[in-house]
């Protein structure tokens, strides 16, 4: 199984085009949006500067891009080509395949997170302590596993043609409802409450909490953990139960 994880990561790294866009897209978005900010603007009543708020949102959004876009479609295509069928004839347990896929997705999300953070520290003058930078990086990376698992589950549920639009809907829907584009504090109260139980808002909140010098909220971590179990469990179950043309 270690070999499979290694091989999946190697394959992803070899796919330069995919790496390039996944890594650059959130960084460009971060720079672009921040140009519209007045210097010294604050992010509502969060106690953060607008730039710091945007940085964690974009790091989270970038990681979501890396793990959701493309991944679901690649898995659906592998199913249609029969590779997964071949793999099911090995002793590999369902969780092995899901683990390998999540691991390879995480290889792409790490650089996209790091680039946003580096830009924040260098170009955008966001000032944080060393442990905070490290904490944001680790938390955002770990949280991206939730969306990676969602990508695997979609890849299992949909055909190759449908996987792209479906992952787009989840990707934009979750990003918007999670306040990654429009800051959460501008949402009506009921929507803020609802967003707290969807995965993207708790995800971005991990980094924000660290920016304020606190540990991530237990509630956010719990919500994310539940989604991770849900998505990964669904993916593993679908892998084994896939008795259609897989």
């Amino acid at each position: 199984m270690k070999t499979l994880v290694k091989l999946e990561i190697t394959r992803t790294l070899r796919n330069r085009k995919f790496m390039f866009f996944s890594v650059l897209y959130p960084a460009m978005l971060f720079l672009g949006i921040s140009l519209t900010y007045k210097s010294g603007a604050t992010a509502g009543d969060t106690g953060l500067s607008a730039l710091a708020y945007l940085m964690t949102s974009m790091a989270a959004f970038g990681a979501m891009t890396a793990v959701l876009m493309g991944n679901a479609e690649r898995i659906a295509r592998e199913r249609e080509k029969g590779w997964v069928r071949q793999l099911r004839l090995t002793a590999l347990p369902g969780r092995g395949y899901v683990t390998a896929k999540i691991a390879s997705a995480a290889t792409v999300s790490l650089p996209s997170i790091l680039i946003v953070l580096i830009l924040g520290a260098t170009v955008k003058d966001v000032h944080l302590k060393a442990w905070q930078w490290a904490g944001i990086g680790v938390a955002t990376w770990a949280g991206s596993l939730v969306f990676a698992a969602l990508g695997v589950a979609i890849g299992y549920l949909a055909t190759a043609d449908a996987a792209r639009p479906i992952s787009m809907i989840f990707y934009f829907g979750l990003a918007i409802l999670g306040g990654l584009w429009t800051p959460l504090y501008l949402f009506p109260h009921w929507l803020q409450t609802m967003a707290g139980y969807l995965p993207a808002a708790p995800y971005a909140a991990l980094g924000r909490s660290i920016e304020l010098g606190n540990a991530p909220h237990a509630k956010d971590v719990t919500v994310l953990a539940v989604y991770l179990l849900l998505f990964a469990g669904a993916a593993a179950w679908l892998y084994r139960k896939d008795t259609r043309k897989a």
Binding site: M1, K2, T3, L4, L7, T10, R11, R14, N15, E78, K81, G82, W83, V84, R85, Q86, R88, L89, T90, A91, L92, P93, T243
Partner: protein, 326 residues
């Protein structure tokens, strides 16, 4: 096709496995298996047993249910009714235990990796793995080890699939149309490799379109037709059942088909213009009767029936029977 050579043919084949007194525990046992896809019955009441060391060919026209039967055997599909046991347990358990290797027609390969990486992966995943270098040598793919998997020819791809199916010490190897896309020499080399597996005591089940392969390689032939098992025996038995000899001759003048229909040992009769084609299970007796009727056949030819013709005869008969039952 290669000459049948040694058919590695000492497989222990019990005459009547039905009474339950089989000498060896069966490798595969289907009992009364049904599988439908919507309104389409893919497999109907399929019962069959494979024993250790057998090399079994699965024949059938397209849509006969071969691939479905193999999918069921490998646990890729679940039966609607009936039981399937592989080494005495469920197909999925047998696979998890590393006892079954399979080469599927529809089995894709992982892309963007080299042949060596892929074979290494298959070996790594096998509970009773062989060294990757040995597996590649046996499959004849050592030279293309550094090639990307998605840049292979059809025949090379089949060899890589074969390597995946033999990555560990499997006791049963299942092959679905293994030589598709191979040229004649590649096919010969493939079966030579396969025989080496059989000689190590493996049980091999293969579906094929090439009847000469079944004839040359299999100890036992199963014929599927419209989801039903319509024949199960050695290639020789199947040929005999279909009518062992084919007789062809021309007659002058009007051909009296009814009269010809009274000939003894007749299995099949076909008259086209002056040409009469007869299938007979005793060509000598049939021809004796032809002369006895006062006919004077010209251009007489008597030939043994190949497995191909036998196969067509059996499936045609099954189709006719099916139509008669309606």
């Amino acid at each position: 096709m290669t000459a049948p050579a040694a058919k590695s043919g000492t497989a222990p084949r019990p005459a009547a496995p039905a009474d339950g007194a089989a000498p060896a525990a069966p490798v595969v046992a289907f009992s009364g298996v049904d599988k439908s896809f919507g309104p389409v019955r893919a497999v109907t009441d399929l019962s069959l047993t494979l024993y250790p060391g057998e090399t079994v060919a699965l024949l059938g026209p397209n849509g006969a249910g071969k691939s479905t039967a193999l999918d069921l055997l490998l646990g890729l599909k679940n039966p609607d009714r009936g039981g399937i046991e592989v080494f005495g347990r469920s197909p999925t358990q047998a696979i998890a235990a590393g006892r079954v290797g399979a080469m599927l027609q529809s089995g894709g390969l992982m892309e963007e990796v080299t042949v060596r990486e892929l074979v290494g992966l298959a070996c790594d995943l096998h509970p009773r793995r062989h060294p990757p270098a040995d597996v590649m040598a046996a499959a004849g793919i050592t030279e293309i080890g550094d090639r990307k998997v998605n840049k292979l020819s059809g025949g090379q791809e089949q060899r890589v699939r074969f390597a995946l199916a033999t990555a560990g010490a499997n006791d049963l190897i299942v092959l679905d149309e293994p030589t598709t896309g191979m040229d004649v020499s590649a096919r010969q080399a493939f079966w030579a490799t396969m025989r080496a597996q059989v000689d190590q005591g493996r049980t091999v089940l293969f579906a094929t379109h090439y009847l000469e392969e079944a004839d040359a390689i299999a100890d036992r032939v199963l014929v599927l037709h419209q989801g039903r098992l319509i024949a199960d025996g050695t290639a020789a038995e199947i040929k005999a059942r279909a009518g062992a000899r084919r007789i062809t001759f021309d007659l002058e003048g009007a051909v009296d088909t009814d009269l010809l229909g009274t000939l003894p040992h007749l299995v099949g009769l076909d008259v086209t213009g002056p040409t009469v084609r007869i299938r007979s299970d005793d060509a000598d007796a049939t021809m004796h009767a032809v002369y006895g009727l006062g006919l004077y056949p010209r251009n007489l030819e008597v030939s043994g029936l190949g497995l191909e013709q036998a196969f067509l005869a059996i499936t045609d008969a099954a189709t006719a029977e099916e139509a008669g039952n309606r």
